[in-house]
């Protein structure tokens, strides 16, 4: 029996009630924050100064900072150009598992290049890269974690998508990846230097793209971050209000902005203020806007679109990214999400059967009775029984 349903069912109603109560409470706080938002952003210059003041004194920050656009407005998409190129990349990975007979890691990246206006099918590229042994086992013999491999995957997505750009591609060119644009620190990354190096590489890649006038964006579906709430906390903290204890419950930007952005429109552009002790100096400066990909008034669906800061300084480029991503998400209209990213994911996803095939292929390369291959753990073997 896979589950004791009777036992789950016993607590199901109670759980549903708890979840509803939690949502009501969140909406209540969001309502209060909305009033505060109106007040705080009515003078964006003052709010920016408050944030800059805090930036100097605090070492850990992750919040939104308004830029030149009015945060109280919802912005419609401009008309799409007839011809443009959209490159989307997504990756998946095999994380080394000590329970298997052989530990190995693999990164699989799918890239779709769509030349809109050509009428031609998109070009597909799939890069499957078996990781070197030194990438999966460090000098201290620690096996690479899920986050370590994800970092390598994120880096490969960015370098490979860059490699696809040729002078023949129709301009404007937009590259899109799934998830945040910057490679942020993951909690479980063992080699902090490697993470910092990756962040520096992302910065350098963006510098190249900027020189060539190539746009890039990170698309985050159903985002959970609360950068606006954190921004309002600063407003409360630095502002004139009597000192209050900050509410520990975080309200997502999605809940806060849900009713403010009209279907198909976007929020104002904010800058991400992300500060950690180990941040390298040369790090990508990122801005973002929320995009309501829904076409229905009473059912907003916000995605966060992250863009390099230099793009945020040119409103027509922000508008172009807005228009391209909204149009691409409308292709899958009942579940709006960029079609090209979905296809890149479809290309890249590694299934269990493929994992086992690669494992067998590798095992076949070892001499018979080789000690390095060892055996699967008994636990893993028994899990595989049907």
């Amino acid at each position: 029996m896979p589950l004791n349903y009777a036992s789950v069912d016993k607590n199901a109603s109670q759980y549903a009630q708890q979840a509803q109560d939690w949502l009501l409470e969140c909406k209540k706080i969001a309502g209060q924050l909305n009033t505060l938002y109106d007040e705080a952003v009515s003078d964006p210059e003052r709010l920016r100064q408050m944030i800059e003041l805090v930036q100097e004194s605090k070492s850990n920050l992750y919040l939104a900072k308004p830029l030149q656009e009015d945060p109280l407005r919802s912005y419609p998409a401009p008309t799409l150009p007839d011809n443009y190129t959209l490159l989307s990349a997504d990756g998946s990975q095999i994380v080394p598992n000590r329970h298997r007979a052989l530990q190995f890691g693999l990164i699989n990246v799918g890239i779709l290049t769509v030349s809109f206006g050509s009428g031609q099918p998109p070009e597909m590229k799939l890069v499957s890269e078996l990781l070197d042994h030194k990438d999966i086992i460090d000098e201290d013999n620690n096996l690479a974690s899920e986050d370590d491999i994800a970092l390598l995957r994120d880096m490969r997505e960015r370098t490979l998508i860059r490699d696809q750009i040729t002078p023949q591609l129709t301009r404007p060119i937009l590259t899109v990846t799934d998830g945040p644009l910057d490679i942020f620190y993951r909690s479980d990354i063992q080699d902090k230097k490697r993470a910092q190096t990756a962040q520096r590489q992302v910065y350098q890649l963006d510098q190249q793209l900027q020189q060539e006038g190539i746009l890039s964006a990170g698309y985050i579906d159903k985002p959970g971050s609360s950068m606006l709430h954190s921004m309002l906390e600063i407003y409360k903290e630095v502002g004139v209000e009597p000192k209050q204890e900050a509410d520990k419950r975080r309200i997502s930007d999605r809940l806060l902005l849900g009713t403010r952005i009209k279907p198909g429109e976007r929020s104002a552009v904010f800058e991400i203020i992300s500060k950690q002790r180990n941040n390298p100096l040369n790090r990508l400066r990122v801005a973002f806007f929320y995009l309501n990909v829904s076409t229905v008034e009473d059912h907003p669906w916000l995605a966060r679109v992250e863009i390099p800061y230099w793009i945020s300084q040119q409103q027509e480029l922000v508008g172009l990214i807005h228009a391209v991503l909204f149009a691409d998400a409308q292709v899958l209209d009942s579940h709006p999400y960029p079609y090209s990213l979905h296809r890149a994911h479809e290309l890249a996803v590694v299934k269990q059967a493929e994992y086992e095939e690669i494992e067998n292929l590798l095992l076949a390369k070892f001499p018979e009775g080789s000690e390095i291959t060892g055996y699967r753990s008994n636990k893993d073997f028994l899990k595989g029984l049907k």
Binding site: V114, S115, F116, S118, Q330, D333, S334, Y339, H342
Partner: protein, 205 residues
Amino acid sequence: MNEEQTSIPIGKLMRAENSQFVAGCRVRELETPALGALVKVTLEDQSQIYGLITNILINDDSLVRQLVSGVSIPTEYTADNRYNRNLPVEIHVLTVGYAQNGQISHRLPPRPPLSLDVLHLCNSNELCHFTSLNEQAYLRHILRLLDQPVEELLAAHLRQAKAAHEDASDPTWYPLACQKLITLLRDDYQRLTTVLDVLTELERE
């Protein structure tokens, strides 16, 4: 140039049994196969299995179903689903005979073709040769089909074969084929009437 070289590869075998088989092809390769066309598979021992295309099936998947409900799909994405995605078009084939040591038989082959064997479209010479042997005995295979529009399949096949024979200066083939069908269906008046109806339509073309 031998016949194998002039016939066109149109797909690869997915599954098979003695009486029928299914091949898969990509949409790009779909321009040549047509309902009722004579096709063949050459086995490793150089024997050949002949069949008629009885159905061409365009598969879907959950993404295609999702796209169908969309308001508008860019041309590039329609092309992506047709030409890039791994959704083979299925070509269903009814086995109508085989050739061994150069001898063509209109009986079922001793064994079916194997998966990934290449399906070829027969050229006009092969079509004329195969259909004129054994007093068109292969037509009985079409008439044993159930749950399929047999009359439409007959019409499609006879139309192609009639044209090939007429091009080869053989105007007698088509009346003989009609005679054969009347003989095979002499005890099934209802079906015979429908088939004659189709043949009449064909002659009016």
